[in-house]
Each structure stands twice: as structure tokens, then as C-alpha cells.
Symmetry: C2
Subunit: 161 residues, 2 copies
């Protein structure tokens, strides 16, 4: 049997509001734990991790604008983060042959190594935080989120910078 937590009298909009607040609470709680772990155990931040993660996914490098688009943050934002990663020898900027305006941001070998170490811990943190979820739970939530995400991606381009 299915446990029905939403009253039949309640308008659907109220149920949707409540599930959104619950979803937000869960996401914020997990994110806060990740930030804490990155700071306390590795002396870094989530924005830095996100940038390194994006660069690791594209070994040939990413243009600064592609990077900010991919991460959905402002252009000026990634400039500062890549600056610092570069200072620390974790990233570098490579000129694009045909275009003097653009630069490709890349991880250095040292940066890639550092990211892989972080990513390994990150996966473990998430694995513990989602301890209670079996494959069935994951599949159910994944299918539900797909509905919301597909619905949402229509409007995506309206708000791109």
C-alpha cells in the first residue's frame, strides 16, 4: 500500500508548496554539510570545487564564458575563482589559436590530482548523507525530478546571460 501524506481536501498547490519547502530544506542541509567538509577538511570552498569539477569534465579546457554558463554563475565570478586557482598552480589559461579574445581555462596535472582527491571524498560524503536511499528510492526521485527539470528547461534560454 501507498502511504498518502497529502490530504484529499488540500489543494494540489499547497501540497506542491510543502514538497518544495521540504526539497529545499534537504538540499540546503546537504549543501551546508558539503561546504563545511570542504572548508574544515580541505581548506577550500564549494565554488572552487564546482569550477574544478567543470574543468575536470572537459580536459581540453573551457572558455571562460562556457564555464560560467555551465555553472550558471556570472562571468565576473569565474574570473576571480580561476585567477586564484591559477595563482595556486591548480589551473591555467591557454590562448585559443584563432581568437585573441578567448582563453581556455584548464586544470593543471596538479589541479586534476587535487580535484580527484576532493571528488573521492565528495562522493563518500554524499553516499553517507543519502545513506537511507536504496536504488528504488533513487529511481523514484530521479523520475520525479525529470518531470520538473524537463518542464523547466524550456524557459532556460530566456534567462541566460
Amino acid at each position: 500500500m501507498t502511504l498518502e501524506t497529502t490530504s484529499k481536501q488540500e489543494p494540489l498547490s499547497k501540497a506542491r508548496l510543502r514538497i518544495w519547502l521540504k526539497l529545499l530544506k534537504a538540499a540546503n542541509g546537504i549543501e551546508a554539510e558539503i561546504r563545511r567538509n570542504l572548508r574544515d577538511q580541505h581548506g577550500t570552498t564549494l565554488p572552487r570545487f564546482d569550477v574544478m569539477s567543470a574543468l575536470a569534465r572537459f580536459p581540453d579546457g573551457l572558455k571562460m564564458s562556457d564555464l560560467s554558463n555551465f555553472l550558471k554563475v556570472s562571468n565576473g565570478n569565474v574570473t576571480g575563482i580561476v585567477d586564484k586557482l591559477t595563482e595556486e598552480g591548480l589551473a591555467l589559461r591557454v590562448a585559443v589559436p584563432g581568437d585573441k579574445r578567448a582563453q581556455l581555462a584548464q586544470l593543471t596535472p596538479k589541479g586534476l590530482l587535487a580535484f580527484e582527491e576532493l571528488a573521492h571524498h565528495h562522493e563518500n560524503w554524499i553516499n553517507k548523507l543519502l545513506d537511507g536511499w536504496a536504488v528504488e528510492d533513487i529511481d523514484a526521485v530521479s523520475a520525479a525530478l525529470d518531470v520538473v527539470l524537463s518542464h523547466h528547461s524550456d524557459k532556460e534560454s530566456d534567462h541566460a546571460q
Copy 2:
């Protein structure tokens, strides 16, 4: 039948990592839309809305520290937000009889009215964003999130300020 999106070979930790990234993407997308709507249609911000929402839920007022605990933001943060709401006549600070250290933050009638207007729109925005979710989806996700949230609330107190 159930559509199984996670491969049987894949370690559970990888599946959990992927569902976390998907969850985060959905939550960030929805939150971005709410921020946009609050800014463009009502000239306000999500932190302000969150503070007003918390104060509306506690008509007798909230101590500043209770407010920051409830919202899981820093102490100094709510000071600034309540300051501005107060300047605009939407909130006020009431002295606590027995304790000269503490103050209760409260919504003014004007503030409550403004919040109820915002809350009405907010519910509609969420209702549209979660358009694809029927009661069954909501119940499934709610049950899954309960597992994660209960697991998580144990550690909550460790990190309270």
C-alpha cells in the same frame, strides 16, 4: 513496471552522487526562478521573503537568534535584513520584558499584509514550476526526503551557532 535508470553494475555511491546532482540542479533552478520573480515583479529578495515568512509563522515574534537559527543563516545576517524591514515599516523590534539583551522581531500589520500578498504569488509560482507533479509524485518524493532529512537532523545540533 518500474523504469530502472540506475545500472546494476554501478556502485550505489555513484547513483547517489548522480541523484544529488540532479536534486541540486532542480532546486537551484526553482530557486533562481523564485528570486527572479521576487526581484522583477515585487522588487524584493528571497532572504527578505524568508525572514517575513518566518515572522509571519510566529505572530508573537521571534528573538533575533531564534530567527537566525530557524532560517539557518548567520546572526549578523538577519540583523541587516530586519533593520531594512524595520526602516520600511514592515517589521519592528519589541523589547523582551525580563531580558534587556533580547528583542523580539515582529511583522507590522503592513508587513503581514505585504507578506500575504507575496506568499500568494509564491504559491502560484511553485504550483506552476511543479506543474508535472501529481499527488503520487509528491508523496513518493516526500517519503524519500523524509529518510534523508531524519538521517540528517541528528547532526544538526553539532553545527548550530
